[in-house]
């Protein structure tokens, strides 16, 4: 082929149309320049990605580039830009506080109240992690919100948690005494805490908002293996359950120690066509429920039946309170569709809190 040899060196200067070989050269220089300048962020991103061949290759390639970038000081450009943009490297999702006080609105109809009990686990659920010491006492009883006693509800989680946050925001919008803070962040979870450290972030949020209630819904990104130090923790193994369970427990303990009650919302059934396995969701849910039982002041809400057909199967459409079919799940078969699904989930969560702590929200 002559497409690169025919073009003499540096002929791109002053020429609009260039040879494919020179385009390739320019593209490679562009890629290498970008890699060197952005190596630190790319390396961090690779480290926090799910374990597997892809991550191994990415880390192996990016580690020496990041070191070279740091050695010649190129990473300072990225750090400087991050500082200028107010990104100091600590985790911190965008917090959208929706704290307007509203007048009281309708309460959920009793027939739609879900059970606030652990889900029935199937044979795919792994054995529960060994018991660990729990707090002797939970938070003080939740006082009925009312005039002079407004409360803050902090909602955290991943992108499915964001959907729940929208539902809670809508359902409680008319509650004059409940301030909802939606702080769920997409692409997060408890497996890749190198990417986003929820236990650490929750401490910050608890100190910031002093919530009386913390609602957690995450796990959609957690069906993955991860490293702890140099140790590989395979998904679903006893070690995974121990470590992941400890992270769940830490979030529960932090919240209850601060005086908040916790509603931990389980993962819903996923579409057979979705990229998430239902067996993994069952494993996670069993673990959430087991940890909830060990922590006073923590309730677990199973959403499995809530977002499934009577036969327990996934469905994108379900009847709403008035019997009309509504779309409850997004086209990806994973996320909760708004407003049908988010409303259903939000009302279920509010009802669960009312039943668990004997309050009216």
């Amino acid at each position: 082929m002559s497409w690169s040899r025919r073009a003499p060196r540096r002929t791109t200067r002053g020429r609009r149309h260039v040879a494919a070989g020179q385009v390739l050269f320019v593209g490679l220089v562009c890629f290498v320049t970008w890699l060197l300048l952005d190596a630190r962020d790319l390396y961090d991103s690779a480290l926090s990605s799910p374990l597997g061949a892809r991550r191994t290759v990415a880390v192996a390639v990016l580690r020496p580039i990041a070191r070279a970038s740091a050695a010649v000081g190129l990473d300072r450009i990225g750090r400087g830009a991050d500082r200028a943009l107010g990104r100091d490297g600590t985790p911190g999702g965008s917090v959208v506080a929706v704290g307007q006080v509203r007048v009281a609105g309708p309460t959920p109809s009793p027939e739609r109240l879900p059970r606030v009990t652990p889900p029935s686990t199937t044979s795919t659920a792994a054995p529960a992690p060994p018991p660990r010491p729990t707090r002797a006492a939970g938070p003080p009883p939740l006082a009925q919100p009312g005039p002079g006693r407004p409360i803050t509800l902090l909602e955290v989680g991943d992108s499915i948690g964001e959907d729940l946050g929208y539902g809670l925001g809508d359902v409680l919008a008319s509650d004059a005494y409940v301030r909802v803070v939606q702080d769920a962040v997409g692409s997060t979870g408890l497996a890749a805490i190198g990417y986003y450290d929820w236990p650490a972030q929750l401490e910050v949020e608890l100190a910031r908002y002093h919530p009386a209630i913390v609602v957690v819904m995450l796990g959609g990104n957690d069906a993955q293996s991860f490293d702890v130090g140099t140790r590989y923790i395979g998904f679903g193994t006893a070690a995974w359950q121990r470590v992941y369970g400890a992270r769940v427990a830490r979030m529960m303990s932090e919240a209850t120690a601060s005086g908040a009650h916790v509603l931990w919302v389980g993962m819903p059934v996923m579409s057979p066509a979705a990229t998430l396995s239902n067996a993994a969701m069952v494993t996670e849910n069993a673990l959430f429920a087991a940890e909830a039982r060990r922590h006073a002041g923590v309730a677990f809400l199973s959403t499995w039946r809530l977002l499934a057909t009577p036969a327990g199967a996934y469905s994108q459409y379900l009847p709403n309170g008035s019997g009309s079919l509504v779309q409850v799940r997004d086209d990806d078969g994973i996320h909760i569709d708004a407003p049908g699904g988010t409303d259903l989930l939000g009302r279920a969560a509010v009802a669960a809190m009312e039943r668990a702590w004997r309050v009216r929200l």
Binding site: R9, V18, V29, F31, R54, Y314, S315, I334, A338, P339
Partner: protein, 479 residues
């Protein structure tokens, strides 16, 4: 596979080298592009490659049968069958749930309580199905009209699946792309417009990763997801903001697609031409998603009769075109209403122009002040319609409209100077004269290869740094 990802960067690098290495070999060249396109499509979900293949088969066989039919009646019959097959695929995968749901609810309102219409539990919407279906339809119709000769199967397969346009357009016509595929051996590997391609790709990335993402997270997503929690000033800013977000997102994607195709030696038509400078809704549609609007014009509006005949027929044709155009965007009543708003306003525009003509006045007042007023009014109507386009539901859209009118006294914490500046600045950028870009491109052209690469690398780093953390591009997460 999405454009702003490392996966795509590596994929494209490999395809770029292979594409130019096999240029002298027409068959290998086509097979390479076809395989690359199917890999690209299968990256997210391999099962949908069968849908793409089926659509391609319908296109090819439909074109062949239409061309070989011996009588007009048979030609029409084969055309109808081919269109029905294509629309059947689209309808099943994109509209079945919507139609069943609407039917079920309508029956309930009429008091008919029977077994619910069966729903497909697991069918997820295949990406890009609307785009490649429309490309297939245009091919068969063009063959029927005699404006296009049928092409070999391999060419049709490449035409319909060519990865730069596969997921989100532009909707390229057979008459535009098939001749390029047929002449692919004549592409000159020494004449690649690197400058224009690089500006398109990086400009598209900037629009998508930086502007669209920022405006979305700062104002649009919070307001549209929870209308009841936001005040009128926030909703107003979100409406204009969504206009900026969707323009930057969609035109950014189109720019990247056009740039990538250009690097491989193919030319795509433009898809956007500064739409928010339009002085009327008709002009807006000549500048917005141009390949879709011209498709709707040529394959729906004109066959319906277009502007021929009475005024009532004209209004009917406009409404049908705009409502179906709205529905093309998604299976929801919000899109139907969005299309209807555009249709009604265009009809009103015709009525107004007719009235002005009857009274001996020019169709549009053409003073500088009037021009700016017309632009502002058009932008505001388009922005108002976006409320329906992006709302979660019809009720959500009306809630936005209601609060836009009634909540002016409430606090508006999301209306902050950086957000207002981003929205206003992005709109103002549409008024930049064409010359500025030519001047910047001329400076770039004057650089040597090494300097060009470094400049592009720095630009790329700036984009990834300015983009919010968590944007899909360079983080390996599924959500």
């Amino acid at each position: 596979m999405l454009f702003p990802t490392i996966d795509f960067a590596i994929f494209f690098g490999v395809v770029f080298v292979g594409n130019w290495l096999v240029v002298p070999h027409p068959r290998i060249s086509r097979v390479l592009v076809l395989v690359a396109s199917y890999v690209f499509y299968a990256w997210a979900d391999w099962r949908y490659v069968f849908l793409l293949a089926a659509s391609t088969l319908f296109t090819y066989v439909g074109g062949l049968l239409v061309q070989r039919a011996l009588s007009d009646r048979r030609r029409r019959a084969w055309l109808g069958a081919s269109v029905a097959a294509q629309l059947g695929l689209l309808g099943w995968f994109k509209y079945y749930g919507f139609v069943s749901l609407s039917l079920d609810n309508a029956l309930r309102h009429l008091g008919v309580h029977g077994t619910p219409v069966p729903l497909v539990a697991a069918a997820a919407l295949p990406i890009g199905v609307s785009f490649y279906t429309f490309m297939g339809l245009s091919y068969v119709v063009d063959v029927y009209r005699g404006t296009l000769r049928t092409a070999p199967f391999l060419d049709v397969a490449v035409y319909q699946s060519f990865f730069p346009h596969l997921l989100a357009g532009p909707i390229v016509r057979g008459s535009e792309l098939l001749p390029q595929i047929a002449r692919s051996t004549q592409r000159d590997p020494r004449r690649i417009d690197l400058t224009e391609a690089a500006f398109l790709v990086l400009g598209g990335l900037f629009k998508k990763v930086v502007i669209s993402s920022y405006v979305s997270s700062a104002i649009v997503a919070p307001v549209f997801s929870d209308p009841s929690l936001h005040s009128a000033p926030e909703i107003l800013l979100a409406a204009y903001g969504y206009g900026v977000q969707i323009y930057c997102d969609f035109s950014g994607y189109s720019d990247i697609a056009i740039g990538c195709a250009k690097l491989l030696g193919f030319e795509f038509p433009r898809n956007f031409d500064r739409p928010y400078t339009a002085r009327s809704l008709q002009e807006f549609w000549r500048r917005w998603h141009m390949t879709l609007s011209s498709w709707l014009r040529d394959y729906l509006y004109v066959p319906l009769g277009g502007s021929r005949g009475s005024r009532s027929r004209l209004y009917r044709n406009i409404m049908i075109t705009m409502v179906l155009g709205g529905l093309w965007h998604g299976p929801a009543w919000t899109f139907v209403i969005w299309g209807a708003i555009h249709g009604v306003v265009q009809c009103a525009g015709h009525l107004r122009r007719d009235w002005r003509r009857r009274h001996g006045r020019p169709e549009l007042t053409d003073t500088p002040l009037a021009r700016w007023r017309q632009r502002l009014v058009t932008l505001s109507i388009v922005s108002f319609a976006w409320l329906f386009f992006d709302a979660n539901s019809v009720n959500g859209a009306f809630s936005l409209v209601d609060r836009l009118v009634t909540t002016w006294g409430e606090p508006a914490p999301l209306v902050r100077l950086p957000v207002v500046a981003a929205v206003a600045g992005s709109l103002a950028l549409q008024y930049l004269p064409h010359g500025w870009r030519a001047a910047v491109e001329a400076r770039f052209v004057a650089l040597g290869s090494l300097a060009k690469g470094v400049a592009l690398g720095v630009a790329l780093m700036t984009i990834t740094t300015l983009g919010p953390s968590g944007v899909a591009p360079f983080i390996y997460f599924r959500f």
